[in-house]
C-alpha cells in the first residue's frame, strides 16, 4: 500500500493538484494531509474542499498551527505576514469549512504509523522538529515505526540506528530509501504549498509500507499562477515572492 504524505499545503491549490496527480501516477492508494492546510495562500476554500473529499474516502487529516489560527485560536506562533493571511483566510471560510477544521485531530495513531503536524511530544505546542534532539523527543512520544510530520518546510529524514540516537538525513528526490520496519523513522514530508529551500517545486513524500521504502518527491507546478492569485487577493507581496523564489 502506497501512502502519499502532504504537509504544509497552505491554500496552494495548484501545488496540491500537481502533487496529487503525481502521487496517483506513482501508484498512491492512500493519502494523508499533515496539517497547515490553509494560511499564506490564495485558495483556502478550494483546498479545503479538495481535502475534505479525500477525507471522506478515508484520508488521514491532522490539524496544523495555521489551521488552528484560522479557527481563532492562538496566532502567537506565526509572523505578521502569516497573521494578515490568516485574517483574510478566516473571512473566506464558511461554517462548513470551520466545522471541518474544528473536527481535525492533533495526532493520529494507526498501525505502525503516527501522523502529526509538528512534534508528537506536544502536538499542540507546534514545536519545530529541526534537529536530532527534537526528533528524539518526538520519537519518544510514540512507539510507531513511522512518525510522519510536517511544520518544518524542508524535506528531512531522521532515523535511529542500533544506538538509538536519531541522526538527520537530507533525502535525494526520487530515490526509494529502504526504511526497515524494525527501526524508527521520523519523516518530514516537506511543504507542498510553500517550499523554502530555493527550489519552487512542491514537496511531498510517499511511504510504501509493504516494501518498507520511502521516496521523497519534488513536483513542479505553475507557481507564477498562484503568486498572481496572492497579489490579486491583496495578500502581502512577500508571500507571492516566496512562491516564485522558493524561499
Amino acid at each position: 500500500m502506497k501512502l502519499a504524505l502532504f504537509a504544509d499545503i497552505h491554500s496552494n491549490l495548484e501545488a496540491l493538484q500537481a502533487c496529487l496527480v503525481h502521487a496517483r501516477t506513482q501508484g498512491a492508494e492512500r493519502f494523508a494531509f499533515l496539517g497547515d492546510l490553509v494560511g499564506y495562500g490564495p485558495d483556502p476554500v478550494a483546498v479545503l474542499e479538495l481535502i475534505q473529499s479525500y477525507a471522506a474516502e478515508g484520508a488521514v487529516v491532522v490539524l496544523g498551527n495555521h489551521d488552528a489560527a484560522a479557527l481563532g485560536n492562538s496566532t502567537e506562533t506565526i509572523n505578521h505576514h502569516a497573521r494578515a493571511a490568516i485574517e483574510w483566510t478566516r473571512a473566506q471560510l464558511s461554517d462548513r469549512h470551520v466545522a471541518f477544521l474544528s473536527g481535525l485531530p492533533l495526532i493520529v495513531h494507526e498501525e505502525n504509523m503516527t501522523f502529526v503536524h509538528a512534534s508528537a511530544a506536544a502536538p499542540d505546542k507546534w514545536i519545530y522538529v529541526s534537529d536530532p534532539l527534537r526528533a528524539a523527543y518526538s520519537l519518544e512520544a510514540t512507539p510507531a515505526s513511522y512518525l510522519l510530520s510536517g511544520h518544518v518546510h524542508e524535506q528531512m529524514l531522521y532515523y535511529t540506528g542500533a544506538g538509538g540516537r536519531p541522526m538527520s538525513f537530507v533525502p535525494t528526490p526520487g530515490v526509494a530509501i529502504p526504511v526497515a520496519r524494525h527501526r524508527r523513522w521520523l519523516v518530514i514530508a516537506g511543504s507542498a504549498g510553500q517550499p523554502r529551500d530555493g527550489n519552487p517545486a512542491a514537496c511531498y513524500a510517499m511511504l510504501d509500507n509493504a516494501h518498507a521504502t520511502l521516496t521523497y518527491h519534488r513536483v513542479p507546478y505553475p507557481h507564477v499562477v498562484t503568486a498572481d492569485k496572492i497579489r490579486a487577493a491583496g495578500l502581502p507581496e512577500r508571500l507571492a515572492l516566496r512562491l516564485e523564489h522558493g524561499d
Partner: protein
C-alpha cells in the same frame, strides 16, 4: 525486535526452501554456507549474521547495510542477491556463488610481476568504478573481499561497511571510531569520514602495493596511535623492495596512497586507465624515489598531522562527474581546420567546467596500408608515431596541462567500433566527435563514424560541427 539468540543452522537443514550444504566460512560478523535450491541450478551461498549474546552489536547494522546495498546495485562486479530473510525472524542473504579465485590467492607466492599486478589492478579498479557509478563506496576493500569470475571480471563482496550515497548511513552513529581493516583503511576513515569514494582508491593503492612487493605499506597496526602513523610516515617505495618494479607502477601506487584525498586519483576509472596504459603515465619524483623521506620531513608532517582535516566529501556520483574521462575522436586524415577549431572549442568548454577531467585524444589508423608500397616510413610503428605527433599538434592550441592529456593511436579498419571498444574498456564518460557537414573535404567519411558512435556509445556523445557560414 531482533532475536537475542539466533541458532545457526546445520548441514542438511532447510531454511525457507534453501538446503544448507557445507559451512564455508565462520567470521566475526557472519557465517557463510553453501546452499542449494530446487529453483536454482547455479550454486548459491547463504550469509547469516551472527546476532545475539556475545555477538558484536555492529553485525546487525552491517547485515542491514549489506542488504540495502546489494538490493540497490547490479552488474557483473557484485554478487547477485537471490533472496533475503526477514530480519525480525531469520535474517540471511542468499547470493550467487562466485567460483573463481580470490585476490588474496595471489599473495601466497611473494611479489607478483608488474604486468600481472596491472592486469589485476585494472580488473579491481574497474569493479570499484562500477560500484561508485551506482553511488556506493565500499570502504572495506581487502584482497579477501575481491573475487574473480571465471570470465575474469572482479567481483566485490562484503558490503557490511559500505555507504550508499542516497541512503541514510546506519553505520555513521556506530562508528565515530574508525571502521575498516587496519592495513587498508584510508587516513580520512580514521576520522570517521565515510563519504569519500577516494577512500576506496587508497585501498586499491594498498592492495597494489601488497601485490607488487609482498608487503603491506603500513603493516597491520593495532590501536589508534599506530593507525595514525600513515598520516605522516610515507611507505617504503615499492622499488626499494623489489627493484624490478617499473617507475610507472610505483607512480600509480604512491599516487593512490596520498594522504590528502585530493592528491589521489579522482576516480577508480583513472587508476584503471593508467594501469592499462603504462606508457602514458606521467612519471614524477613519486615514481622514481628509492627511499623514504628523511626524519626532518617526517617530523614536519607529524607536526602538521596534529591538525589534519580530511578533505571535504563529494557526493559519490557528483565526484565522478567532475572527474570525467573525455574521449576526443580526431580523424587526423580528414579533419579540416574549421572542424578542428569547433572541436577544440568543445574540448575547452568541457575542460573549463570539469575540475578533474582527463582528455584522451584518439585517432584510428588502418592496420594495413592499402594500395601503397610497403616502405619503411609507412611501417605500422612509424604510422603510430606519426598519428601521435599529429594528435599532439592538433591539441597544441588548447595548451592543456600535459598530465591531463593523453594521446592514443588505435589500429582498426573500423574506426567506429575501435572508438566504441576503447570507450567501453576505459570507462569513458563522454565522447567528442566531429560530424560531417557540407563543404568538408571527403564529405561523409567521418560522419558515418559519428553516426555509428552515437547509436552505440556507452556514454554521452557530443557531435561537433562548425557554424554554418551565412
Amino acid at each position: 525486535m531482533v532475536t537475542d539468540m539466533v541458532a545457526l543452522p546445520n548441514p542438511g537443514d532447510v531454511l525457507d526452501g534453501f538446503r544448507i550444504e557445507e559451512r564455508l566460512y565462520v567470521g566475526g560478523m557472519a557465517v557463510i554456507y553453501r546452499v542449494s535450491s530446487p529453483t536454482s541450478e547455479s550454486p548459491l551461498v547463504m550469509k547469516i549474521p551472527r546476532l545475539g549474546f556475545g555477538e558484536p552489536g555492529t553485525s546487525v547494522i552491517g547485515y542491514e547495510t549489506e542488504e540495502m546495498v546489494l538490493r540497490s546495485v547490479s552488474g557483473p562486479h557484485v554478487p547477485r542477491l537471490i533472496a533475503r530473510g526477514d530480519i525480525e525472524r531469520s535474517p540471511y542473504l542468499v547470493m550467487e556463488y562466485i567460483s573463481g579465485r580470490r585476490l588474496s590467492d595471489w599473495l601466497d607466492h611473494g611479489p607478483v610481476a608488474a604486468e600481472e599486478v596491472a592486469r589485476l589492478g585494472v580488473a579491481l579498479a574497474s569493479a570499484v568504478h562500477a560500484l561508485h557509478r551506482q553511488d556506493v563506496i565500499h570502504l572495506d576493500l581487502t584482497p579477501g573481499n575481491v573475487l574473480f569470475r571465471p570470465t575474469g571480471e572482479a567481483v566485490l563482496v562484503d558490503f557490511g561497511l559500505a555507504r550508499h550515497g542516497h541512503y541514510p548511513d546506519l553505520m555513521a552513529e556506530e562508528f565515530a571510531r574508525p571502521a575498516g581493516t587496519a592495513a587498508y583503511i584510508s587516513p580520512e576513515q580514521l576520522f570517521g569520514v565515510r563519504c569519500d569514494p577516494r577512500s576506496d582508491v587508497f585501498a586499491i593503492g594498498v592492495i597494489l602495493y601488497e601485490l607488487a612487493t609482498g608487503q603491506l605499506p603500513y603493516g597491520s597496526p593495532r590501536g589508534a596511535k599506530a593507525l595514525r602513523r600513515r598520516l605522516y610516515r610515507d611507505p617504503t617505495p615499492p622499488r626499494a623492495i623489489v627493484s624490478t618494479i617499473p617507475e610507472w607502477l610505483q607512480e600509480i601506487i604512491l599516487r593512490c596512497l596520498e594522504v590528502d584525498a585530493r592528491a589521489r586519483y579522482s576516480s577508480a576509472a583513472q587508476v584503471a586507465f593508467d594501469l592499462s596504459h603504462p606508457d602514458q603515465v606521467n612519471i614524477g619524483e613519486r615514481g622514481r624515489r628509492l627511499r623514504r623521506d628523511g626524519s626532518w620531513k617526517v617530523f614536519r608532517r607529524w607536526w602538521r598531522a596534529a591538525g589534519y582535516e580530511p578533505a571535504p566529501c563529494p557526493e559519490v556520483s557528483s565526484q565522478l562527474s567532475s572527474a570525467p574521462i573525455v574521449l576526443v575522436a580526431v580523424a587526423v586524415e580528414y579533419t579540416d581546420e574549421l572542424l578542428a577549431q569547433a572541436m577544440r572549442d568543445a574540448v575547452r568548454r568541457t575542460f573549463a567546467s570539469e575540475r578533474d577531467s582527463r582528455v584522451v585524444l584518439a585517432t584510428v589508423i588502418s592496420p594495413v596500408s592499402i594500395g601503397r608500397e610497403r616502405t619503411e616510413e609507412d611501417s605500422p610503428a612509424n604510422r603510430r608515431i606519426r598519428g601521435r605527433v599529429q594528435l599532439r599538434h592538433w591539441a597544441q592550441p588548447l595548451r592543456l596541462p600535459p598530465d591531463r592529456v593523453f594521446c592514443h593511436v588505435l589500429e582498426s579498419s573500423n574506426p567506429a567500433d575501435a572508438l566504441l571498444e576503447y570507450a567501453r574498456l576505459n570507462h569513458v564518460d563522454q565522447i567528442i566527435i566531429g560530424a560531417s557537414y557540407p563543404g568538408l573535404p571527403l564529405f561523409g567519411a567521418p560522419g558515418a563514424t559519428a553516426d555509428r558512435v552515437v547509436s552505440a556509445a556507452p556514454c554521452s556523445v557530443l557531435v561537433v560541427r562548425p557554424m554554418e557560414k551565412r
